[in-house]
């Protein structure tokens, strides 16, 4: 099963590559449309848009997924139901491809919902309590985005069809488009884990490592960015785009800080993914969709590679993910540490690896155009933080002493996993330059003063020095975290925002409702309705009964009395 799907996806990747080169060289784009039904004023069509962007993205997705499936043949070989896993991964890839090629909101919804659902199934794959909680958090956060896309479908029915790409030029200033843009941005924010919805990405690391490599590094989380890239013409001078800028640079900054406090290997990589997602969203909201797409693709390469190396290391450490137990691995597993180092350095933006082309271009565009001071500072600060946690990770894992038990078996010769990592290594080295030559037909004009140009290098060097110094541990080192406990816990726990999605949705309401129930339902409303009114009525009825049980003469006499009173009025 693994080999079949690997070959199929690899072949699919080659086809996509060929067509991508053909389309981008000739400037072609093909639009297939099949009208299923046309009803009053709505037409339901199934459309497929093949232009260079969708073909390129499909090529990358199929490459990474083929490599991941090949990798999981060895990683998950002790799994009884491996076929189930492979089928889930294939369905995931299918949903992603459906999302990529669709210019139509209904098929985007199908792909989007499929992504959310299958990522839930994959996250809960190991059926323990932690995976269950993580899966619930993932699925429900993604569900918010699904609801937003459903509402966009409703609003776009205003315009007559669900092919949104035709309406951008004409309907830009419409009120309906304003609402649609708001909802699309919220949907992208939930899928790509920006600030209010960022709690699911570190939690989703409870999934198996191949899933993290495919889903949480390159495909699921970039679906939101891709959607915004497609909608870019609509969103470009809307107000919410500026809100998105603000939130995404805060995401970038916050996850960079939180990654420095983490000791779980996969969580560090997840927070680094979150930081790079913030970078992609922020450069997109500054108005450069092609640079965002470029960074999306190069990031996919080296992040998938990083996750796969982490998977090899975790296997070696007897399923321990804590980096404090690891160390000195560069001496024992040279090939894996080669892949790890190259992907880490590519993440930092070391010159002429693949990450350098996209990241450096982003930072130079931010410096060249005149933006906010806060934007500028946070961009560079986050770049420095990226280098900081990267070097800290390298120091802990590669350079410091080995901290596990005395007997160890660090096995590097698993060639299935290594071969799959080598494919990604090759792409991670070359994809930066290769993509920049393909995508940008002419380079961006950037003219910067000398120190501003070197600002990246200053920040990187500072980050690396700090990373080195922080990870110097000896027997007598003091845990500095305890000295600044409040601040450290604030920064470490992602600024307490996961509490919004977990405690804030269940515990707070249940607590409040208990107070309400005891005070009102079983308290005051018993007196003012229920028992209280019953007592009042019963007392009235008893009182009336005293009147009722009377002598008969009294009744007759009272009637006469009434008439005498009326007569008196009559004669007055």
């Amino acid at each position: 099963m693994c080999f079949n799907s690997f070959f199929f996806l690899f072949f699919f990747m080659l086809i996509n590559f060929f067509f991508f080169v053909y389309f981008i060289m000739n400037g072609l784009s093909v639009f297939f449309e099949w009208e299923i039904i046309s009803f009053n004023s709505m037409s339901i069509v199934m459309s497929i848009l093949l232009d260079w962007m969708s073909l390129l993205f499909m090529m990358f997705v199929s490459l990474i997924s083929s490599v991941v499936i090949f990798y999981s043949k060895s990683y998950m070989n002790s799994e009884l139901n491996l076929n189930r896993f492979i089928i889930l991964v294939l369905m995931f890839v299918f949903s992603m491809v459906l999302l990529i090629i669709s210019p139509n909101l209904i098929s985007i919804l199908l792909g989007w919902d499929g992504l959310g659902l299958i990522s839930y199934c994959l996250v809960i794959y190991y059926q323990n309590l932690k995976s269950y909680n993580a899966g619930m958090l993932t699925a429900l956060s993604n569900r918010i985005g699904d609801v937003m896309i459903l509402m966009v479908i409703c609003w776009v029915m205003n315009y007559g069809s669900w092919n949104y790409i035709f309406y951008f030029d004409f309907m830009k200033n419409d009120y309906v488009m304003f609402i649609i843009s708001f909802m699309i941005i919220i949907a992208a924010m939930t899928k790509s884990a920006q600030i209010p919805f960022s709690s699911w990405l570190p939690a989703a690391m409870a999934a198996p490592t191949p899933v993290s490599a495919l889903v949480h590094s390159s495909t699921l989380v970039t679906a939101g960015v891709y959607l915004l890239i497609r909608f870019n013409y609509l969103l470009i001078d809307m107000f919410f785009f500026k809100v998105l800028l603000f939130l995404s640079i805060l995401t970038m900054f916050m996850s960079g800080i939180s990654a420095n406090y983490e000791f779980d290997l996969k969580k560090i990589i997840a927070l680094s993914t979150l930081s790079q997602l913030g970078l992609m969203m922020s450069i997109l909201s500054l108005g450069f969709p092609d640079i965002a797409f470029f960074h999306l693709l190069t990031h996919a390469m080296f992040k998938a590679l990083l996750f796969m190396c982490a998977g090899v290391i975790i296997h070696m450490m007897n399923d321990i993910q804590d980096i404090r137990y690891m160390g000195g691995l560069s001496l024992y597993i040279p090939l894996t540490s080669l892949c790890l180092n190259i992907s880490n350095l590519s993440l930092c933006g070391i010159p002429f690896l693949s990450g350098f082309y996209s990241k450096d271009l982003i930072l130079e565009m931010v410096s060249f155009n005149s933006f906010n001071l806060m934007v500028f500072i946070l961009f560079y600060l986050s770049t420095g933080l990226t280098v900081f946690y990267t070097f800290r990770l390298i120091m802990y894992v590669m350079i410091n002493d080995f901290n596990l038990m005395m007997i160890y078996n660090l096995y590097d010769e698993d060639y299935i996993m290594l071969n799959s990592m080598f494919v990604l290594l090759f792409m991670s080295l070359l994809s930066g330059s290769f993509l920049s030559w393909f995508i940008f037909s002419y380079p961006y004009m950037i003219y910067l003063p000398f120190n501003l140009k070197l600002m990246v290098i200053y920040v990187s060097i500072l980050g690396s020095i700090l990373g080195f110094m922080v990870s110097n541990m000896g027997i007598y080192s003091l845990n500095k975290l305890l000295l600044s406990y409040n601040l450290s816990s604030f920064l470490c726990l992602m600024w307490f925002m996961p509490n919004l999605s977990t405690y804030g949705l269940s515990y707070i309401y249940l607590n409040f409702s208990q107070i309400l129930f005891k005070n009102i339902d079983m308290g005051w409303s018993e007196i003012y309705s229920g028992k209280g009114i019953f007592n009042i009525l019963k007392n009235y009825s008893v009182f009336y009964n005293i009147y009722q049980m009377n002598n008969f003469k009294i009744y007759l006499f009272s009637f006469i009395l009434w008439f005498m009173i009326l007569f008196i009025f009559f004669f007055i």
Binding site: L537, Y544, F552, F559, F563, L566, F570
Partner: protein, 336 residues
């Protein structure tokens, strides 16, 4: 009600019907009074049974109150005729005439005789008292009523009908207070139109007939008799449906007249009166449901030593349940 062996009762029943027709179809007020008197005279032999002391006392009480009311009515008629040229006396005279008619009906605040007398009569006589005896005073009321006075009487009827019934255990008194409450609704409908009153009255008498015939066949006079028996399921269901219908709960027949009257209330902007109508209705439904709630629970307390079986004369119970449930919906097919 024709199952007693006395043919005198049949004779007096005929005169009772005829007297009401005299009263409502006469040209002058005097003819109305004549009809009322004949009504009283022919009802007394129907309810008196000289072998039963309670029955004799009841018929005596009935005679006293009704004759007092009739005398007053005659007197007011004569005053009205003799002082007709004085138009500013219209208000007082109409109040006095309405008071005497209200006492004949058993409406508050002259209702104190009504539960007493109802307690002393058998079920079929109760049925006559609660339905037929109300026809002629109501129609006479519609000829010359004072709106403000009547609205005040309506409110008193509703409140007394609901509050008085809360503390009762005798089924006859319960239905008496419910009858006083329904009198409130009927007096309001008289003020709107006679046709509306006819509609309400017909449905009310049909509901009362179904209830009273059920109690008569089961020979039940008190509430504890309902709980001691082990009733057949259909009897319980019929009891449930009829009580809820009498209370005015929607899918049943009794909701329709109340709904139409509330419609007219709201059209004529009697908002506060609507509120009182609703709230007293709720209290009435409360004490109906208190009687029958055990019959719509899944687990109920069943005494197994007194069995109430479906006898041969109870064969129309299913038909009455069906009518109560489906009348409202079927009426839309007929009258639309």
């Amino acid at each position: 009600m024709l199952t007693n062996n006395n043919s005198n009762k049949m004779f007096f029943l005929f005169i009772l019907f005829f007297s009401t027709l005299i009263s409502i179809s006469s040209n002058s007020w005097f003819g109305c009074w004549i009809g009322l008197e004949i009504n009283l005279l022919s009802f007394i032999p129907l309810i008196s049974n000289s072998k039963n002391l309670l029955s004799v006392e009841t018929s005596l009480k009935y005679f006293l109150t009704q004759s007092l009311a009739s005398i007053n009515f005659l007197f007011m008629i004569l005053i009205k005729f003799s002082l007709l040229k004085n138009f500013d006396m219209n208000n007082i005279i109409s109040i006095m005439m309405n008071s005497s008619l209200l006492m004949k009906m058993g409406s508050a605040p002259f209702h104190f005789w009504f539960p007493n007398i109802v307690e002393g009569l058998s079920w079929m006589n109760n049925f006559m008292l609660m339905t037929w005896q109300k026809i002629s005073p109501m129609i006479l009321l519609s000829y010359y009523f004072n709106k403000n006075f009547l609205i005040f009487m309506i409110i008193m009827n509703l409140i007394i009908g609901s509050l008085g019934g809360l503390n009762q255990t005798s089924l006859r008194k319960l239905l008496a207070f419910s009858s006083i409450n329904n009198l409130g609704w009927m007096i309001f409908s008289i003020m709107i139109s006679e046709n509306l009153w006819l509609f309400y009255f017909l449905i009310y008498s049909m509901m009362i007939f179904m209830m009273i015939s059920l109690f008569f066949l089961m020979n039940m006079y008190f509430m504890n008799q309902l709980f001691i028996n082990n009733m057949n399921f259909f009897i319980k269901l019929n009891l449930l449906i009829n009580f809820l219908s009498l209370g005015g709960l929607p899918p049943f027949m009794g909701f329709m007249p109340k709904w139409i009257i509330i419609n007219f209330l709201l059209i004529n902007k009697f908002y506060f009166l609507t509120f009182i109508f609703m709230m007293t209705s709720l209290i009435i439904i409360y004490y109906y449901i208190r009687i029958i709630y055990s019959s719509f629970m899944f687990n109920y307390f069943k005494m197994k030593w007194v069995n109430l079986l479906m006898k041969n004369n109870m064969s129309l119970i299913n038909l009455s349940s069906f009518i109560s449930i489906s009348s409202m919906i079927l009426s839309t097919f007929i009258f639309m």
